[in-house]
Amino acid sequence: MNDLDARLQRLAAEATKDVTAPDLEVIMQRGRRRHAVSGPVLAGAVALVLVLAAVVALAAVRGRTDRPPVAPAPTTAPTSTIVSADRWKTYTDAAHNLRFRYPPDWVIRRRHQEGMVTLAPSEQARRMLAYPPTFAVTVGAGGGYYIGEAPEPGMTRGRLPGGQPYLRWESEVDPSARPGMTASTTPNAAGRARVVGYSIDWGRDCKGVKPYRCGPHGVNVTIHANDTALWNRYIAAAEGIVHSARPVTPTRPSSGNRSLPPCRPDQWRVVWPGEHGFAGAQRFFLSGGVQSLGGPRCHLRARLELRIQRDGQRLPLPGNPSARTVEGDLPEDGMTKDGGSWVMRGGPLFWSFSWDEWCNKGLEGPTLQLSAPNGQRLRIGGPDPATNASPSPAFGGCQDRGQPSRLAPWP
């Protein structure tokens, strides 16, 4: 055996050492389906395909200008794609510290974006990388802290079986819309695409997307079903993939190192970057971070309280005042200024509050006050229903819908 032989042997062995053979029953089912369309049946099927192709071509010519193409819903009864999870295959991405399991009859493709893969049932693989896919699960590892600044309606919190906290939301989109276009808020119908998003706290490590950053990381998952039938057929398996996700090597908590000395009051201050946000017209959104003022490395755990008031008096609305606790290490998790703009380098010291139905009658002229345990009081001009505008950016469209106004920490 010469050198090339030996190297090829090692390549084949090393490449497949972590691969387990797919469930045999899946292969056999595929073989039985293939067997079932052999012989005379095959001839009939060919004729049927030719007729169908002619019909489809004719319909395509007639309907070309009528509507955008939508992937057809499956016409057969759902088949179970969920097999016993102990037979699932394992995907491992050590560079981004991500491992998850997936059904043996699903296919997986790496994406151009570093640390990102897309999975789909094999029968949906043809369109798995197109937009919109018929049904696909996209997993992106190595992103920033799992709590970002963009709130999503209907967001819920939870934990994976491995203990990782996550945020989950669902939305519905027009299947013909491109990424980045506004999501529809109309009630779900059979033809509407459904999208589930997960943002998962992956803990602290020094891996992830280049340039490597030692700090909290997140994993994002998007599940896209182009219609309700596809949703019903595959969503359980897709959720199973998400809930099987684990780091390859354990990570440290995103909330930082509690063995560090506690930060002194003069080592930090709360920062509001001077911007408001909105999630839809009815939800006002205030967020910021913590700035390190110097000194030795320290651990900060602080309870921040937001109070909505007018003329020094608390406005009587549910959740007011509202509090949330932030926890992280300084200086690495602190906000810094880069090119004149505040930049959140870490994440766990990010704070955020949402104020629903902020422009109800009787809430005019509010002031927001953020209090921190170091004695700091940050006063921020609130959005003003009287002018239906906020300090920044100008915003219109909020209405008093007769629903209760409420303040809450977010998420």
């Binding site: 090339l4 090829l8 390549l11 490449a15 053979a21 045999l24 056999m28 990388l129």
Partner: protein, 164 residues
Amino acid sequence: MGDDSFAAFYTASYQRLLGQLFAVTGDLAEAENLLQEAYARAFARWAQVHAYDRPEAWVRRVALNLAAVAAKRLRRRAVALWRLGPPPVVPELSPELLDLHKALGTLPLGQRQVIVLHHLVGLPVEEVARQLRVPAGTVKSRLARGRDALARVLDTDRPEVAQG
């Protein structure tokens, strides 16, 4: 009985065939897909395939044919799609083997096939020619060109030209 013998064959041969297919395609996910389809076809006509001397060779040949068809389909696509398409799924490899994997990826499919069948599977030239349905001379020339190209990249010692 048929299912049992197929299960035994499948379990015994899957890993080995997957390694060979990966060496040809350079993409583990693609190799898995091709191999699963080849096994499904084998199971559909297992009574016949089982009677062959080497069912494993039959599955390998079907998978290699599927790989060739897939490669032709890819070639017909626009160059832009090549550039925009997903990168292959490559498992974690040592730097030395990663170099080999990359070097194999630079060879035309025909050269990769003969290199794998001859050097990895261990088939003699005549058998490689039979499996790929090409003349033995074509196999020899592809082997020589493929090994030269790999040697330039990998700095391997060049083996003698194989004799049928």
